[in-house]
Structures are given as structure tokens and as C-alpha cells.
Amino acid sequence: MNRSTKLFFAAAAAVALAGQAAAAYPEKTVNYIIAFGPGGESDVSARLQEPFFRKLTNQTVAIQYKAGAGGAATWSQLNGMPADGYTIVGTNLPHLILQPLEKDVGYKTDDIDTVYWFHYTPDAIIVPVASPLKTLKDLVEAAKKSPGTITFSGSGTNSANHLAQRRFDKMAGIKTTYVPFKGTGASNTALLGSQVTGSWGYTTVRMMLGEQVRCLAVAMESRHPKIPDCPTFKELGYDLVGGAYRGIAVPKSTPRQIKQQVSDLIGKINKTPEFVAKMEAAGFAMLDIDLARTAEFMARKKSEYEALAKEMGIVRK
């Protein structure tokens, strides 16, 4: 009797707790602000999350765009937004670390509380399919033979692509020329037109351009499931893992409990097999850095990027 009563109460409590948790968040539409324009990777990944968000919560997300100053227009205003978990903002690395180093953009890296890093687009070296460079080794040898003549298109200056080019040049002891373009689309145009030797892009570029291009290496721990023919830099002897990371942030003053709820929800979406399949088919690589681990992750990335930024001379005096 005693035991069953206890069980009953335990069960009732569990049901109540579960009910409370389900009712607590989200109870209404969540505003999801993208710090870039529509059509980019941040937008596409949010669009892919949307149906699963709806399925898991019975609530909708309203995706909004607030582009400007490479994302800083949104991030500088993040902490003034409602801190109730109903306004979430997409965040990006290396942007969040590099921008405040370069100039006064109205926010500091530590001001931004990302509660979950949910995927990244790994850096990749892509060449046109007709290129004589068949492997990374070919590329390194060509670069060693005539320093500076190998040109890479990439999106933006001091961007993830640019950083990757610098890192790899140093690792391989080569000198290549990085040509910045306005956005991935323009960089891809130069790549397909063979205006440049190749491109420092992402796995998503390889997926989007398909058989028109060849991927020489990706900056992942292991090969991308949808691009199995492209080796990792690690396999080839270069310790290069990274890319552009994307997360979800809420205003700093948001209560810890709500932060946890947002983090849990994004994590739940991230573990839906159907979502993972769609993300990977588009070339994204999944990442699961939840609230408990974001601080450690950011600290690691900060020291990594800061060292690079100093080397590149982009740190504001």
C-alpha cells in the first residue's frame, strides 16, 4: 500500500513535471532572427529546422531577417531584445569573435550568449572539375613550385574562408593568393568560370555545385557522409578542422531555466534523424554543443581565432 502510494505520487509528479515542462516552453510563436539576408546558409538551416520545431512543439517560428554590417547589426541589439525565450537569434563563428577584435561593432564577444551550437559548414578546398589539380598534394606541390600564383576565391575578407586559407598556407608552408568576393555566390561564379585556381569554400559549396567541381579536402574530423570521395585534411597530414559555426543565442539576461529550455529544444531538433538527413544532404555537418558546453567551446574557439587574428594583423589597436 505504502509502496504503491509512493509510486502513485512519483508518477503523478512526473506527469505534472512533464506537463509543466511541455506547457512552459514554447507556448506561443517564437521569433527567430537571422543576422543575414534570406537565401544564405543561416537562412537555409533555419528553414530546415522550422518544420521540426513545429512538429515537436505545436508552435510556430517566425523567421525574420535583420541583415547589416556582417551580422553585427543584429548582434549589437541582441541584449536589448525580450529575454523570455521567445526571441532567439542565429549566431555565427568566426564572426562573433573576429568582428569585435577588428573594430567597435557595438557588442563584445562575451556579450553574446549562444545556448546551442547546432551545426557547422566545414571549410573545403574546391576546384573546377576540369582542373589539372587532382589531389591536395598536387595543389601543395604547384604552390611550392611557384609561390603566390595559386589563387583562391572565397567569401569576404577576414571571413571563415580567409582564415582557413591563412591557416592552411602556414601548415603546408605555401603561399597562395586569396581573392575575396561578396558572398559565396560570387565566389562560386569565379570558381566555375576558372577565374581562379580554386576556392576556399564549404562542404555546402560542393553539394550545391555538384559534379561541376571537385573537393580536394575537407576540414572535418572524419569524411562528410554525403561527400565520401573527399578526404579530410587530417587524413592527409594537416591538423585542420573548422569552418563557419552556427548557433542560437538569447539575450544575456534570460533566466537560466529558459536558456536551458531553448537549448534542449534545439538539441531535440538536432537529434531528429529526418532533420539530420536533410542537413547533411545540403552539405552541413552536425554539431551538438549544448548549454553546458558552450562556454568551454567558446573559450577554445576564442583562443584559436585570436591567435590567428593577431597573426593576420586584423586586431584593432
Binding site: 522550422e50 593568393t177 577565374q195
Partner: protein, 505 residues
């Protein structure tokens, strides 16, 4: 006959419904100043995710083409391009509306848009893969020269003083350098204002420079905003058709220019409409009438900008590279749908592509009745609304439009300040168009120059990179031609000008 199957699957009742709804939604959004075609597509994209890919694409294509046409309404009736693609439509459309031919201008814009749209779609249907290959021949250096060529159009776009036009163009280019350089990353001319780090956005600048002066003038004068010739004459369709047929070469040339500019990634409807306007003006027998409500200029601009829809989709679908800004959104939607763009799309997933292309044809044709109908309402209500309501309503729209571009209060401030500055400058004979042209083309020229220099440097010779590539040489020849053309024209015109007295309004 697989093509017929595609046509049939494009014409299912559901797809037809989507085409109608898309064109209507696009036209209305495009007509509001500041709400661009890109935004129309972006806002409505989520509705298409639940649909089969081909249907979703048809809806997006219909919205896109409708929005490009809708931009003409505010261009004609308010002198404010509803989308950047309609900049050149203001040059003749507004003077036409001023003198009482607003209804004719709108009908004409509709016919020109439909024809231009069909030409663009035809190229998409028949020649997409080879044309996409041509687009790839354009490297950074070619874009640099193209932008310079575009800047020489100032010569044919400036009313009155060429010097003032050139100065306006310079001002536009300088304004475009404000903020963080896209290529190179340096921060320029921000005066430590964080709000200027992102630079000056084209659309708010457009609204400010074109619309604010009109609003100020509306308030400053007692006349009604637009005059009516006599009674409302209906659509004036017959008259418009006669005009369009009369300049069929203009329509063909402008549609072709629009298609080609659309194919080039990075150049969109705004450049297409400006280039074909300048070309129409150069070759028209009535070139002296340009600027005073010459239908030829309106036809050129409107057929060109709708031709960019089909043209821009060529690199988008064939290469996976957006041809115009709205195409970037469409490409994102394709990714979400799990449809791979690229050469394989035309063979492996031909069902989707061809159904979409036929759907685009259908949507473009549907634009004729829909556009005429909406246009008539827009025109009538604008005539009927008293100024005391019209001015605050439009002023409100300009604020919304400037804000909506990137949900930023900053852009609203920029819009108002540039508008007031533009009004002041117009008092001294500086028109808005050269400034806007500089603002649009400056960044293209700059990026092309820096990239060309970097690539040329890596190859061993910067000069060879800029001056020996065949397409570059061809564009340089065009530039020389374009620069010296006004001098020839002036010599021809001078006696005629002397005979006429007084500056034209």
C-alpha cells in the same frame, strides 16, 4: 512528347491557382516602395515548403515576375521605383503620368513587362545551358569594365548639364564606399558612427532620393498630384498596343539586354533597365523627347527588367549561382526542398525544371489581365485620393519600405537624410539618377578592380589581365563609344536646342 507533358503538369488547376495568387501578391508587394522583389519572394517562400518542388517554384517565379512589374506602379504614379528594377521606369513614366497619361503608361508597362518576361523565359527554356556557360566567361575584370560602362551611361541619363550628371555620379560612388569594404575589410568614412559600418543601402537611398523630393513638391504646390486628360478612358489598351508594336525593335532589344544582364550574376534588374533605357534613348528617332514622357523609354525599362527574371534563372538553375538577388532566395528554397541545382537538374530532374519553366510562361501571360486590372485600380485610387491623405500615406510607406529592407531604424534615417539632401541638390539641377547609378555600380567596379588586381598580380601581369581579355576589350570599345556619343549628339542637337526656348520641366 515529354515537353507537352511538362506543359500539362504546369497547367494543373493547383499550379494555375498558384500562378495567379503569386502574380497578384508579387504585384502588390512590388508596387509598395521599398518592398522589393527579393523581399516579396523571401516573405512568401515558407508557404511553398509544403508544396511539391515544381509547384513551389512556380509560385516563387510568379511572385518574382509580378513584383518586378508591380515596381512600375509607384515609378509611374509617384516617381518612386517600387523595386530597384523600376528606376528607369520613373524617367518617362512619371512625366507621362504628370501630363495625364498615367493610365496609358501603366497599360504600356504591363504589355512591355509581359513581352520581356516571355522573352526571358523563352531563353531559359531553349538555351539555358549554353548561355550559362557564357556567363562564366565574365570574370572580375569584365565586371569592372561593365560597371565603368554603366557609369558612362550617366552621360545619356543626365538631364541638362553633363557636368552635374558626372558630379552626381561621383557623389554616388563616394557614398557607396562608406562602411566596411566588402573586399578588403577596411572601414571607410564612417566618422565613428556605428550606424554607418554597414554602409548605405541602395533601396533606402533609392526611396529617399526619388520619393522624398516628390513628397516635398506635392506639399509645396497646390496643383493636384496627377492630372487627368479628360474622363477616365479605361485601359487605353489599343493605344498602348499600337505604341508597343510601333517600337517592336525597341522591345526586342530591351528584352534581349534584360535577359543577358540577368544571366550575369551580380547584375540585376536595375542595371538591365538602365542600360536598355540608355540604348533606347540613343537609338530612338524621338530621342529629344526622352525625359519628357516618351513611351519608348518606358517600354525599354519595363521589358528589360522582366526579361531578367528568365535570364537570372539561367545561372541559378544551371550552375547553382543566383543570377539576381531574388534568385538567391529561390536557390535557398531549392536547397530546403532538397532539389539540387546544376547541369544534372535539366536531365535528371527535368520534370521539375520544365514544369517550372512552363509555369513561369503561364504566370507571365496571366500577368497581362491581372496587371491591367490591378493597374487600373491603383491608378484610379491614386487619382481619387486627395493630397492631404496621399502625402502622409506615401510618407508612411517610405518609412515602412526603408525599414523593411533589413528591419533597421538606421535605414529609415538614411532614407530621410538622403531624401532631403536629394531635394536640395535637385534645386541646383542635380538629378537623382546619376547618384543612384554611382551607388549601385561603385561597389561592382571596386570589387572587380581589387579582385582583378589580385588575380592579375598572381598571374604575373595586372595590365594584361585588364586589357587583353577579349570580352574586356569589347567592353572597353563600348565605353569609348558611349563616352564620345554625347559629343556627337550635342553637335547634332545644338541648333535644335537653340530654336527651342526655355528649359524643359
Amino acid at each position: 512528347m515529354p515537353q507537352l507533358d511538362f506543359l500539362i503538369s504546369a497547367a494543373t488547376p493547383f499550379n494555375l491557382l498558384l500562378a495567379v495568387a503569386g502574380v497578384v501578391a508579387g504585384t502588390v508587394i512590388g508596387a509598395l516602395p521599398g518592398l522589393t522583389a527579393t523581399m516579396a519572394v523571401a516573405v512568401l517562400v515558407p508557404f511553398t515548403f509544403g508544396m511539391p518542388p515544381a509547384s513551389g517554384l512556380i509560385a516563387l517565379g510568379a511572385i518574382y515576375t509580378g513584383a518586378i512589374y508591380g515596381g512600375a506602379y509607384s515609378a509611374i504614379l509617384l516617381n518612386t521605383p517600387g523595386t530597384p528594377s523600376a528606376i528607369a521606369t520613373t524617367f518617362e513614366g512619371y512625366p507621362m503620368a504628370k501630363r495625364g497619361d498615367g493610365d496609358l503608361a501603366i497599360t504600356l508597362a504591363c504589355i512591355a513587362s509581359v513581352v520581356g518576361g516571355l522573352v526571358g523565359a523563352l531563353f531559359l527554356l531553349l538555351l539555358a545551358p549554353p548561355l550559362a556557360a557564357v556567363a562564366l566567361r565574365f570574370g572580375p575584370v569584365e565586371y569592372f569594365w561593365l560597371a565603368i560602362f554603366g557609369l558612362t551611361l550617366i552621360a545619356s541619363l543626365s538631364e541638362g548639364s553633363l557636368l552635374k550628371g558626372a558630379l552626381g555620379g561621383c557623389l554616388g560612388v563616394i557614398l557607396s564606399t562608406i562602411g566596411t569594404a566588402e573586399v578588403g575589410g577596411d572601414i571607410r568614412y564612417t566618422g565613428d558612427f556605428k550606424s554607418l559600418l554597414g554602409g548605405i543601402e541602395v533601396v533606402p537611398a533609392l526611396i529617399g532620393l526619388y520619393c522624398v523630393p516628390v513628397l516635398i513638391d506635392m506639399v509645396a504646390t497646390a496643383d493636384p498630384h496627377l492630372r487627368l486628360k479628360e474622363k477616365l478612358a479605361g485601359y487605353r489598351l489599343g493605344e498602348a498596343l499600337r505604341l508597343a508594336c510601333g517600337s517592336k525593335w525597341n522591345v526586342a532589344r530591351s528584352s534581349l539586354i534584360g535577359t543577358v544582364v540577368g544571366i550575369l550574376p551580380g547584375a540585376g534588374g536595375s542595371i538591365a533597365s538602365l542600360v536598355s533605357y540608355a540604348e533606347a534613348r540613343r537609338s530612338s528617332p524621338r530621342s529629344a523627347n526622352f525625359g519628357h514622357g516618351e513611351p519608348d523609354g518606358l517600354i525599354a525599362s519595363e521589358s528589360a527588367n522582366n526579361a531578367t527574371v528568365g535570364g537570372g534563372l539561367i545561372p541559378t538553375l544551371v550552375l547553382g549561382i543566383p543570377g539576381t538577388p531574388p534568385d538567391a532566395v529561390i536557390l535557398g528554397a531549392l536547397m530546403v526542398q532538397g532539389v539540387r541545382s546544376g547541369p544534372a537538374l535539366f536531365s535528371v530532374q527535368s520534370q521539375i525544371v520544365y514544369t517550372f519553366i512552363y509555369g513561369l510562361f503561364i504566370a507571365t501571360i496571366l500577368m497581362l489581365p491581372i496587371g491591367l486590372l490591378i493597374g487600373r485600380h491603383a491608378f484610379r485610387s491614386l487619382i481619387a485620393i486627395p493630397k492631404a491623405i496621399l502625402v502622409p500615406a506615401v510618407a508612411f510607406l517610405t518609412v515602412i519600405g526603408a525599414y523593411a529592407v533589413q528591419n533597421s531604424e538606421n535605414d529609415v534615417l538614411q532614407m530621410v537624410l538622403l531624401g532631403i539632401a536629394g531635394w536640395g541638390l535637385s534645386r541646383f539641377g542635380f538629378s537623382a539618377s546619376p547618384i543612384v547609378l554611382g551607388l549601385i555600380l561603385g561597389p561592382i567596379a571596386e570589387a572587380g578592380f581589387v579582385q582583378g588586381t589580385l588575380i592579375g598580380g598572381a598571374k604575373g601581369s595586372v595590365l594584361a589581365e585588364f586589357f587583353t581579355r577579349p570580352i574586356s576589350v569589347a567592353i572597353i570599345c563600348l565605353i569609348v563609344l558611349s563616352l564620345f556619343y554625347p559629343l556627337v549628339l550635342q553637335r547634332k542637337r545644338l541648333p535644335a536646342m537653340r530654336r527651342q526656348s526655355g528649359p524643359a520641366q
